[in-house]
Amino acid sequence: MKYFLKKIIFFSFPIIIVLIIVNFTIDPANLFSSVYEDKIATALISGNNITNIDNYDERKLQKNIIGKLHTCPKIVVLGSSRTMLINSKNCNSSSFFNSSVSGASIEDILSIYQMYENKNFFPKKIILAIDPWLLNENSGQERWKSIASEYNDFLKSIGEETEEISNDKYYQLISPSYFQSAVKILINGKKMPTVTKNRLNEYLTKLKDGSITYDAKYRNVGDKEILNKVDNFIEGKIYSIEGFNQLSSKHKLLLNELIKKMEDNNTEIVFFLTPYHPKAYEFIAKQFKYANVFESEDYFKKIAKQKNIKVIGSYNPYNVDLNASDFYDGMHCNEKGINLILSMYNK
C-alpha cells in the first residue's frame, strides 16, 4: 500500500511541480504580477489606445486606471463584456469612461463603484449594465475576488459586516487549461501591449475611454460562424445563468444599497439590459430552468420604475428591434446593435 502510494507520488509529484512552475512563470493571465496592467493603464491615461493585449486581470486594470485618473468622468459605465462597446462616441460625451469587466458580477460592480468613491469621484451619470446573472448566487463568477478589498470597503460603507474572502487564483497554478495557455505562449510568444492611435486593429484594442474594439477576426466574423458560436453558447451550460434557482435576496439588497448610494451622491442611473442573440433568447425562454432570467428582468424593471431609473434595452432582442445581424455571438451585441439600443435611448 505504502509502496503503491510512493510510486504514485513519485510519478505525479514532478508533473505537478512542472505544471506549477510553467503556470507561475509564464502566467498567461498575469494573475501573479501587476506589471502588465500597470503598463496598459499608463498608456490609456496618457490618451493612447492600446492593442495586442491579452489575458490580463481586468479588475486590477480598473483599480490601476481609476487610481491614475486626474478628474472624475461625467459618464461611467459599470458592467460586463456585454457593455464594453459603449464608448464616448455613442454616448456623445468626451468626459466618459467605460469600467466594464468581463463576466461582471454584483460584487464587481460594487467594488468598481467603490474604487471611484474611494477617490471621491462621483460621476454625473452611471450606465449600469444589468446582466441576468447579477442576482444569481450560483453564477460561478469568482474573478471579483482580485478586488475583494474594495468589495469589503463597500460593505463597510453600508454598515454591513465584511467578509473573509479567499482568492482562489492559486488554483490556476495546477490548472491544465492554464497550462495549455502557458504552452501556447511558450510556442508563439507573449503578446506585449502596443500603443496605437487607431481604433480598429488586428488584435483587441482597449480604447482610451475604457471601451474596446474587438480583433479583426472577431469583427469580421461570418453569419455562419456566428451561428456556430450561438450553438456552442446554448449547447451545455449557459454562461452564468446555470443554477439560477432564485433571485438572491443578498444580491437584491446589495443592488438596492448601491442604487441608494448613487442617488445620495446625485448620480443619474441608467439600467442597460443587453439582449441575447434571437436564437439564444428563444432557447433560454423555452427552458424552465432559466425562468429566473425573466423574473430578474421583471424585478429590475420594477425597481427602476419605483426609483425613477431609466431602462435601456431588454434581454429580449425583439423588444429592441435587434436581429441576428446585430450580434457577434450568443450574448454579445456588435457595435451596430449597441448603437441601435443607445439611439433608442437618445431619442
Partner: protein, 481 residues
Amino acid sequence: MLFNSFNFAIFLPIVFIIYWFFTSNNKKYQNLLLMVASYYFYACWDYRFLFLLIFSTLLDYVTGLQMHYAKNRRIKIFWFWLSILINLGFLGIFKYYNFFAESFSKGLSVFGIETSFIFLDVILPVGISFYTFHGLSYVIDIYKNRIEPEKNFIDYSLFVSFFPLLVAGPIERATHLLPQIKKERKFDYEKASEGMRQILWGLFKKIVIADNCAYFANIIFNNSEDYSGSTLVLGALFFTFQIYGDFSGYSDIALGTAKLFGIDLLKNFSFPYFSRDIAEFWRRWHISLSSWFRDYLYIPLGGSKGGTWMKIRNTFIIFIVSGFWHGANWTFIVWGALNALYFLPLMLLNTNRSNLEIAAQGKILPSFREVINILITFSLTVFAWIFFRSDTISHAFLYVRKMFSLTIFSVPQIELRAYFILFIVLIFMLIEWFGREYNYGIGFIKNQKSKYVRYFTYLIIVLSILLLGNFDENEFIYFQF
C-alpha cells in the same frame, strides 16, 4: 461530481486513504465508508434526489426480504409487483411521462382531437436508469430464486450506490458484486496499479478524444442544413468517436476506480469498433446493458427458441426497448429499430455467433476479409449514430438526405483543427487495436518489462491529456440516460 473534475481528484484520494489506512482491517467499516462516500458523491449533483435513491434502495431491500420470507406465493407476487411497479413508475414519471403525454397529444390531434396534457417540469435524476436496473435485477433474481436476499442493509445499499458505477454503470448484478462486497478486501498492489492505468486511459478517452470530437460533432449536427454531404460524414464520424470515447472512457474510469478499492466491476466495452458484424458489436458495446436485456427481457420472452416470427418479434422488442432506455425520444427508438434490422439477417441465417473472438486474435494485422467486415460494420454503426445524435426524427432524415447528396464528393467545410483531431483519433484507434486482446486499450503496458518504458508511456499519455485535452469539465453523455 464529475470524474473529470478537480473535486473528484480531491475526493478519490481522500476516500482511498481513509479506506486503506483507517478501515482496512474491518470489512464493515470499509463498506460503511464506501456507502457514505457514495451518498456524498451523489448528493454533490443534487441532494434532493438522494432521498429518491435511498427510497429506491430501501424498497428493493425490503422487497427482497419480504419475498424470501413470504408465507405463500401470493404475498411473494404482491411484493414483487409492488417493487417492479414503483421502480418503473419512478422511471416512467421522471423520464418518460412528458414524452408519452406529448406523443398522445400529437397522435390525437391527427384525428382532430385536441387535448391539454399537463407536462411536468422535472429534472431527470442523474443515474436513475442505472440504479433502477440494479434494483430490478436484484428483485427479479430473488423472485426467480436465483439468489438469496441480502440481509445487511449497508452491504445492499453499497451494491446499489457504489459511487464508481452509480451514475452511468456498468449495470451490476447481485451475483457478481454482492459477493465481493461481503468478502474481506486486502490491498492488492497489482489490482490498484491496473486500476490507475485504466483510469488514466479513461481520462485520455474522455478529455482528449470525446470532448474534442464533441466540439465538431455539435457544430456540424446543429447546423447540418448548412453543410455539405462530406462535412456531414465527418460530423457523423466525430459523434461516433465522441460517444465511444465518452462512454467507454467513463467505464474505464469507473472500473479503474473500483479496482482501487479492491472491487472488480463488469466489463462494459470490449473494442466494439473492431467488430465484424452487428451481433459482435452488441456483444462488445455497453455489455452490461445488453446482457441485462438479454437475461431479463429477451430470454423471458422466449429468446431465439420459438419460430421465425417469434425470433423477429423478440429481436425488435429488445432493440427498441434498449433504444428507448437511452431516452424519451423517437430518435432512440428508430436507432434501436435500425440496429434490429441490422441484426435480423444474422439471426435468421444463424450466423449471429460466428465472431465470438476478437478480430485477428493472436495476429498483428487482420485478414482482408476481416478488414472489409470491420469497415462494413463500422459504417452501419456510424449511420445508426446519426439517429441517436439528432434532435428529432425529421432532423435525422434531413441529415441523411443531405449527407447522401452530390456534395458528399466536395471538400469538407471544416477548420484545419478538425483534421488534427481526426489524426489523434486515428492514433488512438491504433493503440486500441494493439490493446484489443486486453481489458482496455493500454492494458498491454503491464507486460512491458522495462519500468522506464512503462513510465515513459504514462508520461506521454499524461502530457497528451494536459496539452490536447478539453478541460471544460463536460458532462458524460450517459449521465442523461
